[in-house]
Symmetry: C2
Subunit: 281 residues, 2 copies
């Protein structure tokens, strides 16, 4: 039982995620990128709330997501939480009452998405520049960077939002959660609930564990698979290291502009499920 | 013009206030007290939002305040933003449209408060322990620490919330804002808008300037007038000092448990007015 509504917990998850430190390669309580700073994430979380509330109220997943992204984008840092919202919106939509969503419920929400949800997903890209890889060579017209211009093509192909996530899953860890039943999200929630210590320390630990387990797909897209694998191997080596060593790794990644943002997205999603499951703050 | 609603900006003001650093003697982006930590302020801000939205929707000031405090209190740190909400609720209630509230409008909101608002103010103390001074010797039954138990006495005396603020003003810098037309709040907003640099740096500068100008009443209540005066004199000496010197002062106050929390409350109120006035994040 949580004292907060699902939309409040989703917003709080975004805030706790960015505050968790050290979160190597990401903006955190103690680190900024030059043009993407802590305050942008605070404003992004506040701005996303009406879209999250729309998801809780039963609005279509695509519309709620587009609204959340539009609100998130009302700050000067650019994309702060696009991927996290793509996880949080179906999780909030699948939440029934004060407890956590079930795996079955969120899978059902995903499988019930429509072509209209897919169109709204494309429109969300009009609100903010998102770093994404190239579209599949056989379907260049489905490039998400076209935003709403691609909607007629999306509609002509009659693809649902879930189908788009399936197509994107190989190169995108957020889409992979949709396809794999939010496996890593629920596992992260279990870890957060089972851990000891202050919540921002638990958040940092959960992030590092996720990073050690799977190469971050944003890093892979921006810097190549080898760098992404290397970063995850370094994270694995640091799981039992001193806090100072993790801090040094965090500084190094920020300095190199290596940003495991997808891992942060999954961390936020796990925080939401854990908060709904009674993780106290 | 702000892209956010007044309730969103009020919540964002709470978040920016706690993130602003260094904010000597207060929890900030880089400092915690042992039992009152950054994450408690994040949860407090998220929890306060429905009460802030009620104020924006025209609910009575007392009810909106009690609701904001009840939501704020849903975290384990105790009192995080009681004083800030006592400023933000009338400011949000006085906000008409997308711009900032006027001084005249907020004074009118305060002067129109009723005995029912006063009763709700007392009930708000049921939700959270607030550090306050002793009640006036001639009216011990009005001790706010009695919470809702004092409501029959408040009603019998037919005091409005504004009258209570007038009575509290000598020893409480938040009540003083009610009495003085939110002078320091509006001045802080002007400074924030006129300043250069990142918003969290501007926040820290605005806090230090406020602290240098008037002894903090929470410090005076907890540690005596002499300490409060001394802290403000130290702040004044640091206005043109290096950031490192201010950081050292911040560490020292936290270590001594000297917490200029009222100054932080006014900083949050100034941030709200500035955000409504177009301060961009």
């Amino acid at each position: 039982m949580s004292p907060r509504t699902p939309a409040q917990n989703a917003e709080l998850a975004l805030l706790l995620e960015v505050a968790g430190t050290p979160k190597p390669g990401n903006v955190d309580r103690h680190r900024d990128f030059e043009d993407l700073r802590f305050e942008h994430f605070l404003a992004g979380a506040v701005g996303a709330r009406p879209g999250l509330a729309a998801a809780a109220a039963g609005d279509p997943v695509g519309d709620a997501f587009e609204r959340a992204v539009a609100g998130m984008a009302e700050q000067e840092g650019g994309n702060t939480q696009f991927g996290a919202l793509l996880l949080l919106v179906p999780l909030v939509a699948a939440t029934d009452g004060a407890g956590p969503p079930t795996r079955a419920a969120v899978s059902r929400v995903c499988s019930e998405t429509t072509v209209a949800d897919a169109a709204a997903f494309y429109r969300a890209f009009d609100h903010v520049d998102v770093f994404v890889g190239d579209p599949p060579p056989d379907a260049p017209e489905l490039d998400v960077r076209r935003g709403s211009d691609a909607v007629p093509d999306v509609e002509a192909r009659e693809e649902t939002l879930e189908a788009i996530m399936e197509r994107s899953a190989p190169g995108d860890g957020v889409a992979r959660e949709w396809v794999r039943g939010f496996d890593r999200t629920f596992e992260t929630a279990d870890r957060l609930l089972a851990a000891d210590g202050h919540i921002l320390d638990r958040t940092a630990d959960a992030f590092l564990e996720l990073l050690s387990e799977e190469p971050d797909t944003l890093v892979a897209t921006q810097h190549g698979d080898a760098v992404a694998r290397d970063v995850s191997e370094q994270a694995a080596d640091l799981l039992d290291a001193s806090r100072a060593d993790v801090e040094a790794f965090a500084d190094d990644l920020v300095e190199r502009g290596v940003n495991p943002g997808t891992t942060a997205d999954v961390t936020a999603a796990g925080l939401y499920v854990a908060l709904q499951g009674g993780l106290s703050v």
